[in-house]
């Protein structure tokens, strides 16, 4: 990695981990995992299913909130506070700044997911008393959640490169919700004819397919995740995030910093 990108990424990571709000969100996610134990204990025979379902959903939702919350301010906050002026007046290219910010936030989310995952795994251990072979799919589900975060981060960064933080949050969250229903949208597109069908198909394939990255329900039931899906999802998430980041760079390269 370009060293300046690395320095910017590290500073972004350092800024995030020194923000108290982040710890509050992680604490909430861990509390939810703890609550999953209680719910699991009153759900006879399906404790594991409840703990995995609730725990991973908490990790996913709180991670998305953190990604959006930090991501939308990554560029706009630096412009508003003019901290960017003393960075871009140095030998730092604008694309290096955007990419550095993206890696910094991604790094923050990977560390957060790791911490929250420990909470989920401990809850799982508490109700099941031991880890089973099928629990490895929980790790795959966590990996897919991280891939979702990659896309959410990139989208938040893309929107924040030209829009206000509030609008960026609205756009990103809206895309997350629509993207979570991408499979349904594709189904709808298939049964719709004419221009409507074309538009539905275009939207269905344009929005990020978060539903393909959500395997929480399968792993909660102990179902295996095919290796091919892991490969496809990895390539899809990387490509989608790269496209969103490229868009953010293209816009930011031409932007006047008033």
């Amino acid at each position: 990695m370009n060293s300046r990108v690395g320095y910017i990424a590290f500073n972004t990571f350092r800024e995030a981990v020194r923000d108290r709000v982040l710890y509050n969100l992680i604490a909430f996610a861990l509390l939810l995992s703890g609550a999953a134990i209680l719910v699991g204990e009153i759900s006879i025979d399906i404790e594991r299913l409840v703990v995995v379902n609730l725990g991973l959903t908490a990790v996913s939702l709180f991670g998305v909130v953190i990604a959006i919350f930090i991501g939308i301010g990554l560029v706009s906050k630096e412009i508003d506070k003019r901290t960017l002026y003393t960075v871009l007046s140095r030998p730092v290219r604008r694309w290096e700044f955007v990419v550095g910010k993206f890696f910094g936030l991604t790094g923050t989310l990977v560390v957060n997911t790791f911490l929250m995952a420990i909470g989920v795994l401990l809850a799982l251990l508490y109700v099941a008393h031991k880890f089973e072979k099928m629990d490895v799919w929980v790790l795959v589900a966590l990996y897919f959640i991280v891939l979702q975060f990659l896309i959410v981060c990139a989208l938040a960064l893309f929107f924040s490169s030209f829009s206000t933080p509030l609008m960026s949050a609205v756009f990103t969250f809206a895309l997350f919700v629509i993207g979570s229903l991408a499979e349904d949208l594709r189904g709808f597109a298939r049964i719709t004819a004419g221009v409507g069908g074309w538009i539905a198909t275009a939207i269905a394939y344009l929005v990020p397919n978060f539903s393909a990255l959500n395997v929480i329900s399968q792993v909660a039931h102990g179902d295996a995740i095919p290796g091919r899906l892991i490969l496809y999802n990895s390539a899809y998430a990387l490509l989608y995030a790269a496209m969103a980041i490229s868009g953010a760079v293209l816009i930011f390269q031409r932007r006047n910093l008033k």
Partner: protein
């Protein structure tokens, strides 16, 4: 080689709800600043000083025109290694300490890892922040932040330093320290381009000044020349309890101050005035030409256009040249 060559640099913004109206922020600006020069860019708030600096820093893009820094185009990546910039009312990452911030900027500026920490400590000491180097910037006062700003601008030993309103919001001691720092930079052979609306600072520090108003460069000149231009009047100071009547009849504007009289009169009446003093046996203290101050030059250049034309005409008439 010129340190900065600004060639008809121009910036307009689209304003209004439909963004169709063009508002000029900087009209075509042509200006050259030589290496080793301390140049003051003067003008009231909103005159176009910050826009010019942002254009030179590549933070905004010009509508037309171009500029060269140290002989290189603005988009040449090497330019940024040779310049330091202090924005107006700087704001830094407040989650960092002063030491962490300077270390981060040193990394971005390409200061080699070996000796980077020593350089950071040296800068902290230079701006008097060694004792609070470990404190988070959110706890810093405005004056302390300005010092951090100065340290980050010169951290990587740039050849050219841009300072946007460096004295703004500082107490007298802080202003003095910034002045001293600019003087030091001059002695080190750096080129300093700083914007200000505090004329006394410009007069004390600058080799040349440029006056900008409403996005238009109204005048450029050496401070020594501007402040040495006589206004065609002389000032005579002598010991007396009252103003001699003969002096008043020569058209002198005089006032008594203690046991001294201060009289200003046209220079062609100098001999007649001295004759009056000799006749009245009054002791002369001094006789000096009245010099125009930078303030007068500034006011003349920034007053509304019609007034300015009139003032320029008067000045030309006095010098005996056409406008």
């Amino acid at each position: 080689m010129a340190a900065i060559e600004i060639l008809d640099l121009e910036k307009s913004y689209l304003v209004g709800f439909w963004r169709k109206k063009l508002k000029p922020a900087l009209r075509p600006l042509r200006l050259t600043i030589e290496e080793g020069e301390v140049f003051g860019f003067l003008g009231p708030n909103g005159a176009g000083k910050t826009t010019t600096l942002k254009l030179l820093m590549g933070l905004v893009f010009p509508t037309a025109g171009t500029a060269r820094i140290l002989g290189m185009d603005l988009d040449n990546p090497r330019v940024k290694s040779e310049i330091g910039f202090l924005p107006e009312q700087p704001y830094f990452y407040d989650h960092l300490s002063a030491r962490e911030l300077l270390n981060y900027y040193a990394q971005l500026s390409g200061v080699p890892a070996k000796g980077r920490s020593a350089r950071v400590e040296q800068m902290l000491a230079r701006v008097g922040l060694s004792d609070s180097a470990g404190m988070q910037l959110r706890k810093f006062s405005k004056g302390m932040l300005q010092r951090v700003g100065l340290a980050q601008a010169i951290l990587h030993d740039p050849k050219l330093v841009f300072l946007d309103e460096p004295m703004s919001g500082l107490d007298p001691m802080g202003r003095r320290e910034v002045r001293d720092l600019i003087q030091q930079l001059r002695h080190e052979g750096k080129t300093v381009f700083f914007s200000t609306h505090i004329l006394s600072d410009a007069e004390a520090l600058c080799d040349r000044v440029g006056i900008i108003h409403q996005g238009e460069l109204r005048g450029v000149g050496a401070v020594a020349d501007l402040t040495s231009q006589t206004q065609g009047k002389i000032e005579i100071i002598f010991y007396a309890q009252k103003v001699p009547a003969d002096l008043t009849s020569l058209g002198a504007e005089a006032r008594v101050s203690g046991d001294m009289v201060n009289a200003v009169l046209p220079e062609e009446r100098q001999d007649a005035a001295l004759e009056v003093l000799r006749r009245e046996r009054l002791k002369l203290i001094s006789l000096t030409p009245v010099r125009s101050s930078l303030e007068e030059y500034y006011i003349q250049k920034t007053r509304p256009t019609e007034d300015r034309k009139e003032a320029n005409q008067k000045e030309a008439n006095r010098k005996g040249v056409g406008v």
